[in-house]
Symmetry: C2
Subunit: 333 residues, 2 copies
């Protein structure tokens, strides 16, 4: 910057003014001269120095708590990130990605915030509601603005972006009941994600309010296709009267389909399966997966927008944004 000033024969301040658009009371000629020097020297302001002064980083973070080292293998996370990237790149904001192991998450958030690595964060928590509350309190106490995905927080520095998981689960149950299913089970992940909790709630409510007599939630310890397959095989052997399974996500649904094949149960005639997520794979399975679509990309994009607006105006446009979910009927139910 000093170079630019020297080259244009002006002070550092004037250069700074041009860069920040404070150009109202400056001679057009000077402005152009400075602009030219900037271009000649290929100058770019140092975000670090600028940030130190302005107390901002031009960076947004995506934080999650996931026991899996490869937390990016969760397609929902990737969708959120894609949405964020898209919004942020238009504003010259960078995206910092960080996943925490459940055990380290405690001090982890606080540490990162104190390091001043970002101006705001989109956060996707997991764990028991109590644990999550603790984390939310911790985030609040940092003063750093954040947007929760699929979770709620009462705070002026927080907002949340949710999908209508309960509605989605209810729609899925309704479809299955309309097809005459009496024993509809729910295959859940052991790790508690807030969205999964809501899907379970939606499922149970739907069964109850429709006068259904039978409901059952099973857990899968390994959240993989293999894990789901072996679990579902055991379930079906145990209780062959189960005719429909609503799965907490599409990956589990893939495992469920495999289990059905393994046991010689035709999908959907002998066993109906519905997933959650509408991942890329869903429509290419055999049979194509009936699933509740989640607008992950849109959610990530909106979360980033909310954060950006907070940084500009000091408050959130909306404390809460709810996205609809949509049951996509294909061949598995």
């Amino acid at each position: 910057m000093r170079e630019v000033a020297k080259r244009s024969g002006v002070s550092l301040q004037s250069v700074s003014n041009v860069l920040n658009g404070r150009t109202s009371q400056m001679r057009e000629e000077t402005r152009l001269r400075i602009l030219q020097s900037i271009r000649d020297l290929n100058y770019q302001p140092n975000v670090q120095a600028r940030g130190l002064r302005l107390q901002c980083t031009k960076t947004m973070a995506f934080l999650t708590i996931d026991p899996a080292v490869r937390f990016l293998s969760d397609p929902f996370h990737v969708a959120i990130l894609s949405g964020m990237v898209d919004t942020l790149r238009q504003q010259d904001y960078g995206l910092l990605v960080q996943g925490f192991h459940p055990d380290q998450a405690g001090g982890g958030f606080r540490r990162l915030v104190h390091q001043r690595r970002f101006d705001g964060a989109v956060v996707h928590l997991s764990g028991s509601p109590d644990r999550r509350s603790e984390h939310i309190e911790e985030l609040k106490s940092t003063g750093c603005p954040f947007v929760l995905i699929e979770d709620r927080a009462e705070a002026s520095t927080a907002a949340c972006v949710l999908a209508d998981n309960r509605g989605g689960a209810a729609a899925a149950v309704a479809l299955l009941q309309a097809e005459g299913h009496q024993q509809i089970g729910f295959l859940a992940t052991d790790r508690l994600w807030p969205a999964v909790e809501k899907r379970i709630t939606g499922y149970e409510e739907a069964i109850r309010t429709s006068g259904g007599r039978w409901s059952q939630v099973w857990g899968v310890d390994r959240e993989t296709v293999e894990g789901a397959r072996s679990r579902v095989e055991a379930i079906l052997r145990d209780d062959p009267a189960v005719t429909a399974i609503l799965c907490a996500n599409d990956v589990l649904a893939v495992g469920a389909i495999q289990a059905a094949k393994q046991l010689g149960r035709k999908v959907p005639t002998s066993l109906s399966i519905i997933g959650f997520g509408d991942n890329d794979i869903a429509q290419h399975l055999d049979p194509p997966l009936t699933t509740v679509a989640l607008p992950g990309v849109e959610m990530g994009g909106r979360a980033a927008e909310l954060l950006l607006a907070y940084i500009q105006n000091g408050k959130f446009d909306a404390p809460e944004v709810v996205f609809p979910t949509k049951l996509i009927r294909r061949g598995s139910a």
Copy 2:
């Protein structure tokens, strides 16, 4: 930090010394007192200020050129990122993610580097070899260390991480020829990724050296399942004598399988299909996809390690790291 110093009754300097391990000539007692204050105050050094002084950011970047806004939907990118995240989080390094549109990439790299947002970058380029060379020159000229994925660069500030794509393609061709196939085609993406180029080269070499008479490379403009499906349908209608297709990636292979089904050609008996990547979906397709596995996670991890070592020692441990690929035989060939 000022707080910590005051609380411990020492100078800022001493606190800084403790934080940076320059503790050799300091009374143990003082050291412990400072450490305690740090803990009491929950102090974390401000990476921004520290970085400004030290000219480093404790952040690494992943940069790619991908026309798709959702460049993260490429499973290979996600794998690279996963590997990087894993390595970086152990070193308290952050990960910055940025995708460029081919048209903006030109100045984009330079801009980011000049902004001093990161200490090094893992870069996955695409485009024609000439274009890529330009970008590599630009990266070199910034002086910022970088590791190329699937591409080469001669520079002291650069290293590269490659997979044996040629070998993988050759193995795939060998398998198909051993099964008696005479007309093996290659389904490529229109967008030129260096890895795809190498797969094509490997394919053509293998056909030639084995005395094969027929070879053909088709391009797919839309890199989606749909795009591949319609392209392959046209291809097969045009020349039904084609009995095997080697696809540039697994997504295209999914489309090819669908096309085969559409035309009533059984896979693998009437049409053999091999993919590249071994994505999560591959083994859950019907039939399970025979594919050349790429160690994306390992490559990303190694790339980050190389960069980290460069930052410490001022030079790369190795100018080039090559990973093997592995043909995984399943049901589609």
